[in-house]
């Protein structure tokens, strides 16, 4: 390393040495607080071009001319210091660390840098350091609770599973409604590529962002509103996440060569398991049954032995006594034994070097994650390389190339109670209490073995080892940027980028699984998406008047997206253990959806293009009043020619009240008001104008085609989102308290989406313009710094997010739309006046007069209604994240506590835990129960009257029946087989999400080493949570979701529980 350094240092000083000098000035630069030596600080002669940098030992040496008056010492993150020159030739300079500046520069649309105070809209800034080394490999998950207005939700607790990010709600009916992610100027698709339906199978698919290396992130800004994103146009109506990578920016390092190395190791565990009862085994109503799934059988202490598991006896007769009976006992740890300790290892090395004109940056990272389920893993390797150079003619050129490769392995999810489904967690969390998980999970031939036989589920151990989805994803990003100053006030920027992601997936269902008729199946999915983006910007900033500043940006944007995909399904393995199409005896082109092959999705080529021109005019007055006007016109390939061109403007402004009024208050030191209005247009999906026929699988050897069940409106128009935003930024008591507040009201109208039309029309959907969605919300970022002393600092940051996402209108004649078909009796819907994606499902009938539950006198259970109704709203009331950061000398501690208040979740896991009678919630079962209510007639759905009066229910039912409906339609109870409303819970959850404690070693320790700094930290993730509205002993964490990064929320179908991690992290800079 030293050798390497020694090569560079002379280069750096070359310029300084080569001139003839009058005076040499030397000295040391140290940090004011801890006296650490500062490396890479700049020393310049005021008003002269020459400069120098401090070396590894903090020392500097600069030659100055005799007439030089003063020296300026500066370093990023420190307050610059000027020293008047005298005869003294040796100085010891102490630089003071800079507090977070209010006048920060933020990256806005197309990488245009703006002074924060000039913005008329909210922009969230994320310190990349706050995302790293937190025992969280997913960059989005590590954003949770840190930025107001950003709602991040996870899906499955297995490695690599998708994370959903949403800003200011859903603004389209059926899109994924996730923000546009722009990495180094090129849109970065965050698509979740779903091969199989996640309702009845499908893996914990990842979303595109999982391939991004958090270590390579140089800066991240969140453009929350339409005003901020208007220039990006079409895809920005859900906000924009702008990420600049280190390799993409190839920013000059603070010193000649900077090398950083970071390493983390974490232990990963299942966050929580239910607390189980160990008093009763399988059966029903205290009668033993070896075939039963529920633990409602006799108490363990009432029987010595029971007939053993027939499937096991047949497979392994040698393991069981000849009597055929085994001890009747509980296995308290049978669930726990299914899981193991997982791990996360992450190593990253970054190099950054160069000189005034040239710079180069390299980041290489490796992540290895093993989940708590055997065989689940996520591995990722990233390499990013970027370089920049300044040519003499005034042209700056930058280029970057990054490559990432990830491999995700894991099991299948979904609802197991559907024919042909075989979920990994079908029974894992609610095993019969007398099921021994130490028994072999397969017979001698490798066939799946379950305790109660009957093929109702796959043995979880067998499933984890055999039914595996493997996704290999590769992403290549190549970009170039050139900028040129034509003169002092005209500049041209050109950016061209190509982002290619390719996914190669293999889903295996092994022979003997419950799924695929037990014959085995393989599904291969090959997906490739390429996006090319070209941006040309002309910036004009003439000097017109001392009080007025004008800045005009005009630009052109060309975008092309191409997707290709090939899916093939092979059924009926010829032999076990070979996972190729060649090893199947039936091959079907395309995926199999609900048991039906769909060849028309087998091979797709989709391309769309968009060109746009835009302008952005900013005016400022005396640097305290700012107005920005933008306009953009797009031409899209996906719209009919006549409607292809569409224009949308925005206007925003800000006023720095404190500057305008020249306030000098000891209380308030900064106050800004801002307001903005913007309109953003959006085009259609490709190929959504013509009515087509889809080609089908052969039937009886005959080729088939069918009219596509989606009809299209050939006269689609662009859809628009209009948003008003007002906000303020305030700072009190010399920045001890800072507030950033925004309120917005966003309306998306004339949305392009399929409406469900009646089947009798011959079609299922008609794609057209209609409807309106409204999002209204507030976002508050509050920072309080109670203690700011030389040695001790304490700051508290709170991020508050509240959004109301209401569907305001659909189309005349349509009451509601199904957001996604889940089950006939339950699913997410869109309806005018109701929250987006509200849960609609079966309810039981209540007396129209009193609201009392109607009880079937014949069963003692409730009566289900034939009609579905609203049973929940998955959108939370609000979210709050509170981060406490304390530092004392080199020690630092930060803890993020967050809460999600409100929002409903329908949980299969909780339903099953209750109905199978396995948790302590259902342990007390000796008494019988009467459901409070009145008698009703199941055929009329009306209360039964006796002399005009209702009759209170007196039919007692057993505990078993209370949690497992004895009669689905006419005797619904709670837990299992009941109306969906009873399995829908308020998903409020409080959580200690992230804790980091660490120590930054004093630099004095490394005097003789080439180490610049070293930090060691311990981190913990998801250390504690409580979801108070779920049954107590289920210990259920509602931060799971069946549909990954899609807009379907609030539905959990036997999900893998969340994880908890403990990590140790080291970061060294050379």
């Amino acid at each position: 390393m030293r050798k390497f350094l020694s090569l560079f240092i002379p280069l750096l000083f070359l310029a300084a040495i080569s001139r003839s000098q009058n005076k040499i000035i030397t000295g040391k630069i140290t940090e004011s607080k801890d006296g650490n030596l500062l490396t890479g600080a700049t020393v310049k002669v005021k008003g002269a071009p020459q400069g120098a940098q401090s070396g590894a030992d903090g020392s500097f040496r600069i030659s100055v001319s005799a007439n030089a008056k003063s020296l300026v010492f500066s370093m990023i993150g420190y307050i610059s210091q000027e020293i008047t020159l005298s005869n003294q030739t040796n100085f010891n300079v102490m630089l003071v660390k800079e507090e977070k500046k209010l006048e920060e520069v933020v990256v806005t649309s197309f990488g245009i840098r703006r002074n924060d105070k000039a913005l008329g809209y909210a922009v969230g800034k994320v310190d990349p350091a706050s995302l790293l080394q937190k025992s969280e490999p997913d960059v989005l998950k590590s954003l949770q609770g840190k930025v107001a207005g950003v709602d991040i939700r996870s899906s499955q607790g297995t490695p690599g599973a998708a994370t959903r990010i949403q800003i200011r709600g859903n603004s389209s009916f059926f899109g994924d409604n996730q923000p546009l992610i722009v990495v180094d100027g090129v849109p970065f698709s965050n698509d979740q590529v779903s091969t199989s339906s996640q309702t009845v199978g499908g893996a914990a698919y990842s979303s595109g962002i999982s391939s991004l290396d958090p270590n390579d992130i140089a800066s991240m800004s969140v453009l929350k509103g339409s005003s901020a994103a208007a220039l990006y146009g079409s895809r920005a109506s859900n906000g924009v996440l702008i990420i600049t990578t280190k390799s993409g920016s190839a920013a000059k390092s603070k010193k000649g060569l900077e090398i950083s190395y970071s390493s983390s190791a974490s232990l990963e565990q299942i966050a929580n398991l239910p607390e189980y009862q160990n008093d009763y085994g399988t059966g029903a109503n205290f009668l033993f049954s070896p075939a039963s799934n529920g633990s409602w059988g006799p108490a363990f202490n009432t029987r010595d032995s029971v007939p053993n598991f027939a499937t096991y006896r047949n497979a392994y007769p040698e393991l069981f006594p000849a009597s055929g009976n085994i001890k009747y006992q509980s296995f308290p740890n049978n669930v726990k034994n299914l899981f193991k300790n997982g791990s996360v290892f992450e190593n990253s090395i970054g190099l950054n070097g160069g000189d005034d004109k040239n710079s180069v940056s390299l980041t290489a990272s490796q992540l290895t994650q093993k989940g708590y389920v055997p065989n689940s893993s996520f591995n990722r390797a990233n390499i990013g390389l970027g370089g920049a150079t300044k040519l003499n003619i005034g042209l700056n050129v930058r280029g970057n190339l990054s490559y990432s490769r990830s491999v995700q392995k894991g099991g299948v999810f979904g609802n197991n109670q559907t024919d042909g489904a075989a979920a990994l967690f079908a029974r894992s969390l609610f095993l019969g209490r007398n099921w021994d998980t130490d028994l072999p999970y397969q017979d001698k031939a490798g066939n799946n073995l379950t305790w109660n036989g009957g093929g109702q589920f796959d043995n979880p151990d067998w499933s984890a080892r055999n039914n595996i989805a493997t996704s290999n994803e590769e992403r290549m990003i190549a970009g170039m940027h050139a900028d040129f100053n034509i003169n002092k006030w005209i500049r041209v920027d050109y950016n061209l980028g190509n982002n290619v992601t390719s996914l190669d997936r293999r889903e295996v269902t092994e022979i003997s699984s419950r799924a695929a008729e037990g014959l085995g199946r393989i599904v291969l999915d090959n997906y490739r998406k390429q996006e090319i983006e070209s941006n040309l910007l002309l910036s004009i900033s003439p000097n017109i008047h001392k009080d007025f500043a004008v800045n005009l940006v005009a630009g052109n944007n060309i975008n092309q997206r191409t997707t290709t995909r090939k899916i093939a399904t092979g059924n009926k393995f010829i032999t076990r253990g070979i996972y190729t199409l060649g090893n199947t005896s039936q091959q079907i082109f395309g995926p199999v959806v609900s048991g039906v092959p769909v060849p028309s999705f087998g091979d797709l080529y989709i391309r769309q293009r968009l060109t746009g021109v835009f302008g952005d005019l900013t005016l400022s007055y005396k640097n305290f009043a700012f107005v920005e006007v933008t306009g953009r016109n797009d031409w899209s390939s996906t719209l009919p020619k006549a409607n292809r061109s569409y224009f949308y403007p925005s206007v925003s402004g800000s006023l720095i009240v404190t500057d305008a009024l020249k306030m000098k208050s000891p209380i308030i030191d900064f106050a800004k008001l801002r307001a903005g209005w913007a309109k953003v247009g959006r085009d259609a999906l490709p190929y959504s104008l013509d009515n087509v026929f889809v080609l089908g699988a052969n039937f009886l050897g005959q080729p088939t085609a069918s009219a596509n069940n989606g009809a299209n409106d050939p006269n689609l128009k662009p859809e628009f989102t209009t948003e008003i935003e007002v906000g303020t930024q305030l700072s009190f008591f010399k920045r001890r308290i800072e507030v950033d507040f925004s309120w917005y009201n966003r309306n998306s109208t004339n949305l392009i989406a399929p409406i469900s039309i009646p089947s009798s029309s011959g079609y299922a959907t008609f794609n057209t313009n209609y409807g309106r969605i409204n999002n209204t919300g507030i976002e508050i970022d509050l920072t309080v710094r109670p203690i700011q002393t030389r040695n001790l600092t304490w700051s508290i940051h709170a991020a508050f997010t509240r959004n109301r996402n209401i569907v305001k209108e659909l189309i005349e004649g349509v009451d509601r739309l199904s957001l996604r078909p889940v089950f006939n009796n339950f699913g997410p819907y869109l309806e005018a006046g109701k929250p987006f994606g509200f849960l609609r499902g079966e309810k039981v009938i209540r007396d129209s007069a009193t609201g009392a539950l109607l009880i079937n006198p014949g069963t003692g259970g409730m009566i289900k209604s034939n009609e579905l109704d609203m049973i929940g709203d998955p959108n939370p009331d609000y979210k709050l994240g509170i981060t406490n950061s304390v530092s004392y000398k080199g020690f630092f501690l930060s803890a993020l506590f967050d809460m999600t208040i409100g929002g409903d979740l329908n949980s299969v896991t909780v339903s099953q835990i209750l109905s199978r009678g396995v948790s302590l919630d259902t342990k007390d079962r000796l008494s019988n129960w009467i459901i409070p209510g009145i008698y009703g007639d199941p055929s009329t759905g009306k209360a039964i009257l006796n002399g005009g009066k209702t009759i209170p229910n007196t039919v007692a039912i057993t505990s078993n029946d209370l949690y497992f409906s004895p009669n689905t339609n006419n005797g619904a109870t709670f837990g299992g087989n009941t109306a969906a409303e009873w399995n829908t819970y308020d998903a409020t959850v409080y959580r200690l999400r992230e804790v980091t404690i660490g120590y930054e070693f004093p630099k004095s320790l490394f005097k003789k080493l080439p180490i610049g700094s070293a930090t060691l930290s311990l981190s913990g993730r998801n250390l504690w949570f409580v979801a108070p509205n779920f049954p107590k002993y289920t210990n259920f964490d509602p931060e799971v979701n069946a549909y990954g990064a899609t807009s379907t929320q609030g539905i959990e179908l036997s999900a893998a529980p969340t994880t908890r991690r403990y990590g140790i992290n080291l970061k060294v800079n050379f």
């Binding site: 049954s289 075939a291 039963s292 799934n293 003619i393 042209l395 109670q417 024919d419 075989a422 093929g455 040129f484 041209v492 050109y494 061209l496 040309l536 052109n556 060309i558 039936q586 048991g595 039906v596 092959p597 028309s600 769309q608 060109t611 390939s637 190929y687 104008l689 013509d690 087509v692 026929f693 080609l695 699988a697 052969n698 039937f699 009886l700 005959q702 080729p703 088939t704 085609a705 469900s756 039309i757 009646p758 089947s759 009798s760 029309s761 011959g762 079609y763 299922a764 008609f766 004649g813 509601r816 199904s818 014949g858 034939n866 579905l868 199941p938 055929s939 689905t968 339609n969 006419n970």
Partner: protein, 564 residues
């Protein structure tokens, strides 16, 4: 120079960006806007079959519901106690399969083939269209008809037509079809061949099927309209009707070969949660156990073809069962018994080789799986036997002259032949299956029934005709449901009937369960709904169609117009 290059780069890109056809790339390269009718016909035929068969959880339709309503199957699901609602899965699959799968493609065929002068295709499409609508009317009553499948005329929300007004239009449509099929002057450059999976392009058979559909529809409305002229005219030349076993109007299914073409009803063999039980009521009639029934003491030789027992007589089941008779295991309609909901899917008896292409019961037991059978059983729309039963019914009512007894005898004889024919022609099982027709048990069975028929009252004679038709049509339940509502036959199980279920309890065969010492326990049964006059409409149709009526009252559901 360098400056020039810098300026040139963006200009080049702008130039390419403004290329004339740069944005004209929105023509779908993946899906055609035109196809040949020969590709649409098998889709429509398959969809029509799928709309009517017993289901497998993904495919299938009306028979999955109606086989329970006609007491040939029992389930624990919504069908039990006639509780199937409009949001039930199979109402949805039926509705979607008929309107989107069958009718929309048939309308496309009519449109495309009319333009090209391919009248044979037009004729076939019209027959199938008329038949599809007739099945919907029979099951649901009022349905969208005149405005259905007219999105090209911008009709997004078709109105519901009065069922009584639809039938006359179906007769007109069938007559149009006959004219198209018999059109000798048409160009017919494209003729149906193997793409016609029903008749392989045999136009003569299509004409026979069309006339037989007319005969069936006229018979169905005989109680509300005098159809004497029409049926006598149709019957005047039997050769113009389905007149042989191999002329039956049915949709073939195939094995799980290059593609999976199995009858959805086979799904219980591969299911992960088997839900269909063979009804004990049906079983006891077949076995001759039902003392109130004319088959008492006559065992039906079709039992091992109709029912497959997964266990043997001696098999000890892990859990107690509700209804067991030797190897036959099932649950009752309307059961409230403690053993109804047990995990018994690997011991219950399943539909056998004949209705769904499952297994012929050799008495050896064995858990059903994909290899138990081929699943290649056809869905029978109207068989030759059905035509003979229709004739017997018409003679029995006096609308047509003739000998009802010989017709019934011919019909039952044909019913047995049909089993053999379907097994050898379509199902092609791997196991050896004995021939039924002409065997001693079969001739005995027929002669005993005919002996009883001779002695029976007029009402019982009608009951015998319809009941034998009901037994014969196991697996195709739509017409069974229609026959029951218009004739009152067969007699079905009623848990509220004090004779059938004294005190609300039914008694399985006393010593039917070899594991139990002493009699099998009685089972509590209940029925809390009246018999549905028609099925509820598809809930999603009502919710998406602004011209749809409100959902039917399940209790006093709408009568179909032909009901007396």
């Amino acid at each position: 120079m360098t400056k020039l290059i810098i300026y040139a780069i963006p200009v080049i890109f702008l130039f390419t960006g403004c290329k004339k056809n740069f944005l004209d790339i929105n023509k779908d390269p993946n899906n055609p806007t035109r196809v040949e009718v020969s590709k649409l016909l098998p889709t429509a035929q398959n969809a029509l079959g799928n709309a009517l068969t017993i289901g497998n959880g993904n495919l299938g339709g009306l028979s999955q519901i109606l086989s329970v309503y006609t007491h040939q199957l029992t389930t624990r699901e919504g069908q039990d106690q006639y509780g199937y609602t409009g949001s039930g899965f199979y109402i949805g699959t039926t509705w979607v399969s008929v309107y989107q799968g069958a009718l929309e493609n048939l309308e496309q065929i009519i449109k495309i083939a009319s333009a090209s002068g391919d009248r044979q295709y037009v004729g076939i499409a019209k027959v199938l269209k008329a038949y599809a609508y007739s099945q919907l009317v029979d099951a649901f009553g009022d349905i969208p008809f005149s405005e259905a499948n007219r999105l090209d005329s911008s009709i997004r929300y078709p109105k519901f037509d009065d069922d009584a007004a639809i039938y006359p239009k179906l007769f007109l449509l069938l007559d149009e079809a006959l004219a198209d099929l018999g059109n000798t002057t048409a160009l017919n450059l494209n003729k149906p061949g193997t793409d016609d999976v029903i008749y392989g392009g045999n136009i003569a058979r299509w004409i026979k099927a069309t006339n037989t559909i007319k005969l069936k529809l006229y018979t169905q409305i005989r109680k509300v309209k005098d159809v004497t002229t029409e049926v006598n005219q149709l019957l005047s030349d039997p050769s113009k009707l389905i007149n042989a076993t191999n002329e039956s109007f049915l949709l073939p299914y195939g094995p799980n070969g290059a593609t999976d073409d199995r009858n959805p009803g086979f799904g219980d063999y591969t299911a992960t949660q088997r839900g269909n039980h063979v009804s004990p009521w049906f079983y006891e009639i077949l076995k001759g156990y039902n003392t109130r029934h004319f088959t008492f003491d006559i065992s039906d030789p079709r039992v091992p073809y109709y029912i497959y027992n997964q266990v043997r007589k001696a098999t000890v089941t892990a859990d107690p069962t509700e209804y067991r008779d030797s190897a036959f295991i099932s649950i009752y309609f309307g059961s409230r018994g403690p053993n109804r909901d047990r995990n018994a899917q690997n011991v219950i008896s399943l539909m056998g080789i004949y209705p769904v292409g499952g297994r012929y019961d050799e008495g050896l037991g064995g858990t059903a799986n994909a290899a138990s059978g081929t699943g290649a059983a056809p869905y029978r729309f109207i068989t030759y036997a059905d035509r003979l039963y229709l004739e017997a019914e018409l003679i029995q009512t006096g609308i047509v002259t003739g000998n009802a007894k010989t017709k019934l005898q011919a019909a039952i004889t044909e019913s047995f032949k049909q089993v053999d024919y379907v097994i050898t022609t379509y199902i092609k099982p791997a196991q050896t299956v004995p021939v039924l027709s002409g065997t001693v048990p079969v001739t005995n069975y027929i002669s005993q029934i005919i002996l009883q028929y001779d002695a029976a009252s007029a009402a019982l004679k009608m009951e015998m005709i319809i009941t034998e038709k009901w037994i014969s049509s196991f697996g195709s339940a739509v017409d069974q449901y229609t026959d029951y509502r218009r004739t009152g036959y067969p007699i079905i199980f009623n848990p509220n009937d004090p004779v059938m279920a004294p005190g609300g309890f039914v008694q399985p065969p006393l010593n039917g369960n070899p594991q139990i010492v002493g009699p099998q326990p009685v089972v509590l049964v209940q029925l809390q709904r009246p018999y549905p006059n028609s099925l509820p409409w598809y809930q999603a149709e009502l919710e998406t169609n602004s011209n749809a009526p409100g959902q039917k009252d399940l209790v006093n559901s709408m009568k179909v117009f032909w009901m007396p």
